[in-house]
Symmetry: C2
Subunit: 229 residues, 2 copies
């Protein structure tokens, strides 16, 4: 059976960086499912799988095509119920939606502020023009203007992880004793920052950094294997 995961890359295919695609990579690895990763530039996405989605990840699993990281996780949980669970019950699936909300509203804007110019710089030529046009229209500033806020965003970043640190006083993963899809949601955001900028700003002796190291070790070190900036 053909199983392909379309992810996002710049001019270097070996450094896929989409946070949402990383969630899907980790979900497939969690389920122990083999797949071929197909890193795709921004401007290549509309041509994937008959234009099924404007964004990656997109999963082809035999005859089925599923877009959106959360939809992919739900699909995998439904179709491969005998593999390790991504949610450990309906409560875990529901609360993962809140954790997605936290990551996207609190962590993603911070990662964007830190890395937007660096993302641009790692893209191929066609993608650079697309990225500059769409992001500058969205945020009402030039990429260079946005980049002046990067240093302050780096300083402010460690405080964003306070909810995780509080939880880590009780358990090593959002999933409890082991990782679940909720962990992959936050991991995706921090891996995005790591791949693009080379590091994630943590506190000294930070339990959140220890969690991230545990995440990078998972599933044969699939996260750690990617070359960073």
């Amino acid at each position: 059976m053909t199983r392909i995961l379309y992810t996002l890359c710049g001019h270097d295919e070996s450094r896929p960086f989409s946070p949402h695609a990383w969630k899907a990579v980790m979900a497939l690895a969690h389920k122990g499912l083999d797949f071929t990763e197909s890193p795709t530039p921004f401007t290549g996405i509309p041509g994937l799988e008959d234009g099924v989605s404007k964004t990656v990840p997109i999963l082809r699993d035999g005859e089925r095509v599923v877009a959106d990281s959360f939809a992919i996780a739900r699909y995998l949980e439904e179709v491969y119920p005998d593999r390790p669970s991504l949610f450990e019950g309906p409560g875990g699936e529901a609360m993962a939606r809140f954790i997605e909300g936290w990551s996207q509203t609190q962590i993603h804007p911070a990662v964007t502020a830190i890395s937007i110019k660096k993302i641009h710089d790692m893209l191929g030529e066609a993608d650079r023009a697309y990225f500059r046009r769409t992001r500058e229209a969205l945020l009402g500033k030039t990429l260079e203007e946005m980049d002046t806020a990067a240093e302050a965003a780096i300083e402010a970043f460690p405080a964003k992880l306070q909810p995780l640190r509080h939880m880590l006083r009780f358990q090593p993963f959002m999933g409890g004793d082991g990782p679940l899809f909720a962990d992959y949601i936050l991991f995706g955001a921090l891996q995005w920052l790591r791949v693009v900028t080379g590091s994630v700003p943590f506190l000294p002796d930070d339990p959140a950094a220890d969690w991230f190291e545990r995440m990078l070790d998972l599933h044969g070190g699939i996260g750690r294997s990617v070359t960073t900036a």
Copy 2:
């Protein structure tokens, strides 16, 4: 069987305001368990149940005494498994710990900034002295100095609920179709603010406000029944 939940009150016993005690009230109601609430002033807590805990809630359930809101929820889930679940599986229990971390590190400091002087003012005489001494030592300012930040904290408050709003695009409760203990965690914090100050600052036409109204309606309107400031 005697089931008593010790909660926290000021000079008016009909206005219990502890966020953690409200989590336990809602958890007991969720399980459909009858109980007698025993609102207690700060300075009365060390005398409860042989000084088992420095904080409320404390639950006496027949021969068993359990302190701490999360421990109470876990206890109820274990001892009353045939009643409606508070976690809907191990994933839901684990992720509720993250949601607790979010609420305590992001929402509780904001509620404290808005309401600390008003909390003081609703206490009895002995509690006022205790509260002023401990809080001023903890925060390094007088209550009156802290209160000057209240207006700015009110303005900043609605933005704190962005993760909830994102989630509400997909489902009506953190628990999914219905509330779970995770919802009671955030409810406790907002109910604390509501009981002490009379209202919660929301946006106009705020889906987060709609969620809070749904929470106030639950279990016979047990949250709404409390008189506010």
